[in-house]
């Protein structure tokens, strides 16, 4: 605990006592605190943070306040979120409700709070968590591991296919100012299973200021398949630092989509390890920001073994004077022959003062690999705008239609229809909000 004081003295107040977990989790938390104390606060001097200055974050003090329970009517005033068939509700970083269809039996799909799961499913949870040993920690993933106090464990049984969309909604009420939120989600798909899970982070209070650092850990056993969506539309003054780590076993399939529209500053760290042959990942993302928002996506794909495939396509729409950062690392180890890895980052600049820093980082040590990367930064075509205007569509609507058209293929690629609907509900109002 002492070693974290250095951080506490800065922008994080981590002094509150955390509620107790079973001892094996306490041990993990204690270990994580030690690791956390060794990680310096991000600064632009670090290569990974060069274009993402944290000044605006650091001048606040965000407080971990686990004792404050959530009583606010969190569902009010959030038209962006529609109920799904299976809903897992967090309010101000705490798991408050699990609603599930009676049709989906508990032995097919386990959804349980972290604390309870740590008792009932200790073996499943601890062996899943062990898979992440040795995966590179970041400041914020480490923070969540060290100080999380609420979370959910989802597990899909062998040979089970969950059809309804599982929707995890993180509401923030802003009732207590400057909260630090560290909800933790662990997803375990056993062999030959599949599921589709969406996480949405929103606020019921447009003026709320908080720092949300959700951590999602995913383990796909062999021949399982998971679609994961991480969508955030945090309020204009909030900060969002998400970490998603995934480990894929042989013949598993992982599809992720990360939508960022809100927050003053967003950083999404996604790290995928294709640990066994023939695992596949498709990582897509869309960011659409305006005013002085900054959104940063850092992805790391690790190919330690042969015959795996990964694909990434991130698109950005930047209005006004917003900024975006995309950094995609692909690491192919010497023994990872037959690797295929593609990466594409396309940006549409709608604002005169909008800026993008995009950078692929390929570290390829095997010789029989197919890898490619590309990045584009462009503007809308005047011919397209004129064509739509000549049909009576205003310039503003034409720009909105074309921007939506730019992003649409990625949203339509989502396999669950409810997910597509949810995503459009978040994206469309954002595109209207252009000055």
């Amino acid at each position: 605990m002492d070693s974290t004081l250095t951080h506490s003295q800065n922008f994080l107040d981590l002094s509150e006592t955390l509620p107790g977990f079973p001892s094996w989790v306490e041990d993990l938390r204690a270990k994580a605190r030690h690791s956390f104390s060794l990680i310096p606060i991000p600064s632009p001097k670090q290569e990974d943070w060069r274009f993402t200055p944290l000044d605006k974050v650091l001048k606040n003090s965000f407080r971990l306040s686990p004792a404050e329970s959530c009583t606010a009517p969190y569902r009010a005033k959030t038209p962006l979120v529609q109920p799904s068939d299976i809903n897992i509700i967090f309010c101000d970083g705490q798991l408050v409700e699990i609603e599930r269809l009676p049709e989906v039996a508990f032995d097919a799909l386990q959804i349980i709070s972290w604390g309870q799961g740590a008792q009932t499913y200790q073996k499943d949870m601890s062996s899943a968590l062990m898979k992440f040993d040795g995966m590179q920690e970041t400041f914020f993933s480490s923070l969540a591991k060290a100080f999380f106090y609420s979370g959910v464990f989802l597990q899909v049984n062998e040979h089970t296919h969950i059809k309804p969309l599982i929707h995890i909604v993180h509401y923030s009420t802003g009732r207590i100012p400057n909260r630090l939120l560290v909800p933790r989600v662990l997803i375990h798909l056993k062999q030959h299973s599949s599921a589709q899970i969406m996480q949405t982070c929103v606020s019921t209070e447009p003026s709320a200021v908080y720092l949300n650092a959700p951590l999602t850990e995913i383990v796909l056993e062999h021949e399982s398949s998971l679609d994961v969506i991480h969508a955030q539309n945090e309020p204009a003054g909030a900060f969002h630092f998400s970490s998603i780590n995934a480990v894929l076993h042989h013949d598993s399939h992982f599809q992720s989509f990360c939508l960022s529209t809100g927050g003053l500053l967003t950083r999404n760290n996604l790290c995928v390890q294709l640990r066994e042959p023939r695992a596949e990942s498709l990582l897509n993302g869309l960011y659409c920001v305006n005013k002085d928002q900054l959104v940063d996506n850092h992805t790391i794909i690790q190919h330690p073994v042969e015959q795996c495939r990964s694909r990434q396509e991130y698109k950005g729409i930047l209005m006004d004077s917003s900024n975006a950062v995309f950094n995609g690392k692909i690491r192919v180890s010497p023994q990872a022959q037959g690797t295929e890895s593609y990466q594409l980052n396309k940006n549409l600049l709608l604002g005169k003062d909008a800026k993008v820093h995009t950078k692929p980082e390929l570290e390829i040590e095997a010789d029989d690999v197919k890898c490619s990367h590309g990045a584009t930064v462009g503007q809308l075509s005047d011919d397209h705008i004129f064509y739509l205007r000549s049909r009576g569509v205003s310039k503003r609507s034409a720009v909105r239609m074309l921007a939506e058209g730019f992003a649409l293929d990625l949203i339509l690629a989502q396999r669950h229809p409810d997910a597509r609907t949810h995503l459009m509900k978040i994206l469309q109002p954002k595109l209207e909000d252009m000055s």
């Binding site: 075509s381 005047d382 011919d383 397209h384 004129f386 064509y387 739509l388 205007r389 000549s390 049909r391 009576g392 569509v393 205003s394 310039k395 609507s397 239609m401 074309l402 939506e404 058209g405 730019f406 992003a407 649409l408 293929d409």
Partner: protein, 249 residues
């Protein structure tokens, strides 16, 4: 209802139009013919307000609320909502923008502008299918992105579909027949003829007299080097077809 007076225009400092005069009354069909590069597309794009062209002299008047009004200062979308339409010679492909969604948005913009009720998606779908039938088009046209992966002929037909949906008072067709086989051309011509009323007017730009057998013009104008050098009835088109343009100089 529509009149061009002494229109001069430049692009990137080059003089393209050098004093065009044209008067169109309701119910009329005017054909404009002329060699490549004579300024036909330039004229049509200026009518709908393309920003690349600079009008240096003259005016374009259109009947709006009972008054002949100079439209040169109007935004392209306002001209469209007032009932001016151009079927482009080279329609652009617009990835990601769904044709039927875009058409409904465009149609409703015009309704709003004219103070009429907007059409809901279901009614619009019926209306759209009615017009598609007129042009012998199937659902694949409207379920795809605007013009993406359309053949040249399909793009031209899509332009006429948009014209049918928006039902303009003045429609300019810029070489809509180029690239169409005879059957498609007949379908397009039939569509135009069905849409003709005593209240609307068409300006049909073409290279080939052939189209004018199907869309019979009241007047034919020959445009050369940015000027209308000759006007007449449909026989003028035949004469040009036989003798070329040089004898008119």
């Amino acid at each position: 209802m529509f009149e061009i007076r002494n229109l001069h225009a430049t692009v990137d400092g080059h003089k393209i139009l050098k004093g065009i005069n044209l008067k169109v009354n309701p119910g009329e069909v005017h054909a404009i013919m002329g060699p490549n590069g004579s300024g036909k597309s330039t004229l049509s794009k200026i009518i709908v307000g393309h920003p690349d062209y600079e009008v240096t002299e003259g005016e374009i008047l259109f009947l709006i609320n009972g008054k002949m009004t100079n439209i040169l200062e109007m935004e392209p979308e306002t001209r469209s909502r007032e009932g001016i339409f151009l079927a482009f010679q080279y329609p652009v492909e617009i990835p990601g923008v769904n044709t039927s969604m875009f058409l409904r948005a465009a149609y409703n913009e015009a309704c709003k502008h004219q103070g009429a009720d907007e059409m809901d998606p279901l009614d619009f779908d019926v209306y759209l299918h009615e017009k598609m039938k007129l042009l012998d088009m199937d659902d694949k046209f409207i379920n795809r992105a605007v013009n993406v992966d359309f053949s040249g002929g399909e793009k031209k037909r899509n332009e006429i579909l948009q014209m049918a949906i928006l039902n303009p008072r003045l429609a300019v067709l810029d070489e809509t027949d180029s690239g169409l086989d005879v059957d498609s051309m007949k379908i397009v011509a039939n569509g135009v003829n069905t849409l003709r009323t005593k209240n609307n007017a068409f300006v049909v730009i073409t290279h080939y007299q052939r189209l004018l057998n199907y869309i019979v013009p009241d007047f034919v104008h020959i445009l050369q080097d940015g000027k209308i050098v000759s006007s007449g009835n449909k026989d003028l088109a035949l004469a040009v077809e036989n003798k070329g343009y040089d004898w008119l100089k």
